[in-house]
């Protein structure tokens, strides 16, 4: 099971796991930040909201950093092409993320309403812009990005920032924001009581159906309106990584046909829709732990749907189909995949174990009373 072909497949799965871990953990951090100015009206209410994630958001954000690092290590040409091609979009994500560490840590250090209000909006930007842009990115993964390689395998991007913002991609951005906000609202309702709890509950009731409708719209658009390329010829699955050694036809059988060719893959979208629907129905009631778990399953299902849909593509090129990157021709060397695999096998469980321990210690309902009691030590 440790041959090159298997390792390439295992790493496709592991990067999916890291992406899902990022979406599930930082997803609710983002959502909580988006809801912050609306669900919290007074300073104490806003501190309740911030302190539901204040002690743990930094660990969650490492999943994003690790996702970047893992793509660099496993799919160097994806990392190079994606980050340099979407240069300004990546810079915007980065600048938006700048608001988060300072927002969480600095807000409560000065007792001036203008200062605190300014950071609340900073946290809002930091939690809202990244999911929109990452959603736009996901949309463009489906549409294909305009890039090509020259003979030295240097990647060139043939589009512009504004071209990323096509109607379909913008829809994906909005749906992703709805997803993080919904996920965040569930978390917030679970962890709080009083006014914040009530308003989070109201947000769940509204966001749930909007999210589901949005996902249906995206699905319909993909199935009916977007072409899917297909590989017509390539070297073996264990050949050295060189994306130019294959030919790709721009228009293949389509996304639905791709799923129907391996019907087991349909489990992913089914899990997505069922999970999020149950999360919405349960989230309106009291079974918050169950609602949150279903939301996690639903989000994981949606990300698997994206991954399965693209498989074996990682980045589709819309201008030079042969330059498209797949998990068979964009990976690092066999020995690097093995090295990174063993490091992950050892450290992933360790990280999960101590993260669980930290959450256990810090768990509990955050109330306005607890904020007032520890006013000098909490965020």
């Amino acid at each position: 099971m440790f041959d090159y072909e298997s390792m390439r497949l295992i790493w496709w799965l592991l990067i999916g796991v890291v992406a899902i871990a990022f979406a599930l953990t930082e997803g609710f951090d983002f959502g909580v930040s988006t809801l912050l100015p609306f669900v919290g009206r007074t300073d104490v209410e806003r501190r309740v909201i911030i302190n539901t994630v204040g002690a743990t958001w930094e660990g969650n954000q490492v999943w994003l950093v690790l996702l970047g690092g893992a793509i660099f290590a496993i799919w160097p040409s994806v990392y190079a092409t994606l980050f340099s091609g979407l240069y300004l979009a990546m810079m915007l994500v980065l600048f938006a993320l700048f608001f988060r560490p300072a927002g969480f840590d600095y807000r409560s250090k000065v007792n001036d309403p203008r200062w605190r209000n300014a950071w609340d909006w900073g946290l809002f930007i930091g939690g809202t812009l990244p999911p929109i842009l990452l959603g736009v990115l996901a949309g463009n993964l489906v549409l294909g990005l305009p890039f090509h390689f020259d003979q030295d395998l240097r990647s060139f991007y043939d589009g512009s920032f504004w071209a990323l913002l096509s109607p379909f991609a913008l829809l994906c951005g909005v749906v992703t924001l709805l997803g993080t906000s919904f996920h965040g609202a569930l978390f917030l309702k679970w962890r709080t009581d009083g006014a914040v709890h009530q308003r989070a509950s109201a947000a769940i009731a509204v966001l749930g159906p909007m999210l589901l409708l949005g996902l249906i719209a995206v699905t319909a658009w993909v199935v009916l309106g977007i072409d899917r390329p297909e590989i017509s010829q390539m070297l073996g699955h264990d050949a050295p990584s060189n994306p130019l050694n294959k030919t790709v036809t721009a228009v293949g059988a389509g996304w639905l046909a791709h799923f129907l060719s391996h019907p087991l893959m349909l489990i992913a979208p089914a899990l997505g829709f069922v999970g999020l629907s149950l999360a919405w129905l349960l989230g309106k009631g009291r079974a918050m732990a169950a609602a949150f778990i279903f939301s996690c399953l639903g989000i994981a299902g949606m990300l698997f749907t994206l991954g399965f849909g693209l498989f074996p593509f990682l980045l589709i090129s819309s201008t030079s189909p042969n330059s498209s990157l797949t998990l068979w021709d964009a990976t690092s060397s066999h020995s690097t995949l093995l090295l990174a695999f063993w490091i992950t096998v050892i450290f992933l469980p360790i990280v999960l174990l101590y993260t669980r321990w930290v959450y256990k210690i810090l768990w509990g309902t955050i109330s306005e009373k607890s904020i007032i009691k520890d006013t000098h030590s909490l965020y």
Partner: protein, 518 residues
């Protein structure tokens, strides 16, 4: 291939964002250890003042840590956004090192930092102490992985070029991990971080003592900082990473440039203390030299010569010629000629391939370079001497000044008269910027001294950049300038606010400002 402006702007952005990030990193490295020491004393003695010390210095650490996180993400993104060809070319080696940093270090520090701040009432004393130490270990592990990555850029070992994938691939993880340059760099850099934390605590404690505030609190902080600082600065100096400058051509060139060694002198080489390096005449004017010193420092021996720049330049010419041969064979391989003869011919020259790539700046085909182009490319391998010569001396001078401060502080603490030495405390306050000056000049020497390479001898800087436009670069540089300036002002404002408040900011009722105000 790319306009010089793209290369210059990309370098400028990377240099500024990395140097800016390193304003916060060394303080994090040092403060976490000092917090661990203070809290250990608290757990062992049970005296509340040590808990207050951990909490108060922890507050200042927290303000700094947030900036470290903010500016660190930039670097994780920036290899891809601005150095895309570099990422493709060496991702096989560099990527797993960054990913390991994520698994082993970032998770550890970022998960436990929240518990450090908010776990005081939820954990037992020993549990909380463990959390603090895990935080400290996490930050130093982070330095370990990134310095192994940087050490590999300085002295690339355990890897080779693969003509089928057109990139470097790892051949031995052990060689990469135990790279002597990386190991020396790691010790040097983390110890410099510990010095930074110590100088910060020493300087601020001195300011409280000079103002007769919270004497017991400040005196204890002062003595911990003086002891830890002395041990750390000795590590920095004794294990100074100049000893890493003997492995590999580029490191040798860097060393010769730092010392303005134009000619190879018979061993043992003397050390140029001061002088004015002149790049045109290739001499150092008004040089003051210390006999034997350079040979001892650089080679740890009296009989090995230190190579001079003129000889190193001649070596570069030879390797560029070898690189042209390697490139010619590589073209044959890429054209489909996979005969054993071609493979062997490529294998025998491929160590010089990177030197061949230097010629891409002058002729895209490399193999048709004339003597003038080879000479130009060889000149590129010799960096500007004067900036390296001077920044290195600024770093060393800062280091020895701090050695004096810590040694005196430690001596007077041991003899219990530190409180009376107001001159020393004033010096400690004014000395607070020194570790930052040393760290920033140190990185300048290490990175500018590696030019014209991103990976020494393997990949030239001008080929490493992304295919982006100068407009895009100006927009991002403008964004960084704006955000980083505003954030720095905010951070300094908060830092000064909490330094002025001192331990009174803990609201325990035990410290000076609370007693007068409430």
């Amino acid at each position: 291939m790319f306009g010089d402006d793209i290369v210059m702007l990309s370098r400028m952005q990377f240099g500024l964002t990395a140097l800016y990030h390193f304003l916060f990193v060394p303080l994090t490295l040092g403060m976490t250890f000092i917090l661990g020491i203070m809290e250990s004393v608290y757990v062992m003695t049970g005296r509340e003042v040590y808990k207050d010390m951990t909490k108060f210095w922890g507050k200042l650490f927290g303000i700094n840590f947030a900036m470290g996180v903010t500016t660190g993400i930039t670097l994780e993104f920036q290899f891809g956004t601005n150095w895309a060809y570099y990422s493709h070319y060496v991702g096989d080696i560099f990527g797993p090192l960054l990913a390991s940093e994520g698994w082993m270090a970032f998770f550890l520090e970022s998960t436990f930092v929240g518990l450090f701040f908010f776990g005081w009432d939820k954990l037992s004393k020993v549990q909380h102490l463990t959390v603090t130490w895990l935080l400290a270990v996490g930050t130093s592990l982070s330095a370990l992985w990134i310095l192994i990555a940087n050490g590999w850029m300085q002295h690339p070992v355990g890897s080779e070029f693969n003509y089928e994938t057109l990139r470097m691939e790892m051949t031995s993880f052990a060689d990469v991990f135990f790279n002597p340059v990386a190991q020396v760099k790691f010790v040097h850099t983390v110890a410099a971080g510990y010095v930074t934390g110590s100088m910060f605590v020493l300087g601020i404690s001195s300011w409280y003592l000079l103002n007769n505030r919270d004497i017991g609190f400040a005196r204890r902080s002062f003595s911990i900082a003086s002891a830890f600082g002395l041990a750390s600065i000795l590590s920095v100096i004794v294990l100074g990473d100049e000893s890493g400058y003997t492995s590999g051509e580029t490191q040798k060139i860097k060393l010769a440039a730092i010392e303005a060694e134009w000619d190879t002198h018979p061993a043992p080489a003397s050390f140029t203390l001061f002088g004015f390096p002149n790049q045109e005449t290739q001499t150092t004017e008004y040089a003051i030299k210390i006999p034997y010193a350079l040979g001892l420092v650089a080679t740890r021996s009296l009989d090995e010569p230190v190579m001079g720049l003129k000889d190193l330049h001649a070596g570069s010419v030879e390797r560029i010629k070898g690189g042209m041969l390697a490139y010619a064979e590589l073209q044959k391989l890429r054209g489909g000629d996979r005969s054993e003869a071609t493979k062997q011919a490529f294998a025998s020259h491929k160590d010089d391939l990177g030197y061949g790539l230097l010629l891409k700046k002058y002729t895209p085909n490399v193999v048709d370079a004339d003597a003038a182009m080879i000479e130009k490319a060889a000149n590129d391998t010799i960096p500007r001497v004067a900036p390296l010569f001077w920044t290195f001396r600024v770093m060393v001078a800062s280091g020895f000044t701090m050695l004096f401060i810590f040694a005196m502080a430690f001596y007077y603490c041991a003899t219990r008269v530190a409180d009376q030495k107001r001159w020393l405390m004033r010096m400690a306050v004014w000395g607070i910027p020194l570790p930052w000056i040393a760290a920033e000049t140190g990185w300048f020497v290490a990175e500018v001294g590696r030019q014209p390479w991103t990976i020494s001898g393997i990949l030239p800087t001008h080929l490493s950049v992304s295919s982006v436009s100068s407009e895009q670069l100006w927009i991002s540089i403008g964004g960084f300038a704006l955000f980083y300036t505003v954030l720095l002002i905010i951070e300094m404002y908060l830092m000064l606010k909490y330094v002025r408040l001192g331990p009174s900011s803990l609201h325990t009722g035990r410290y000076c400002l609370e007693q007068s105000a409430h």
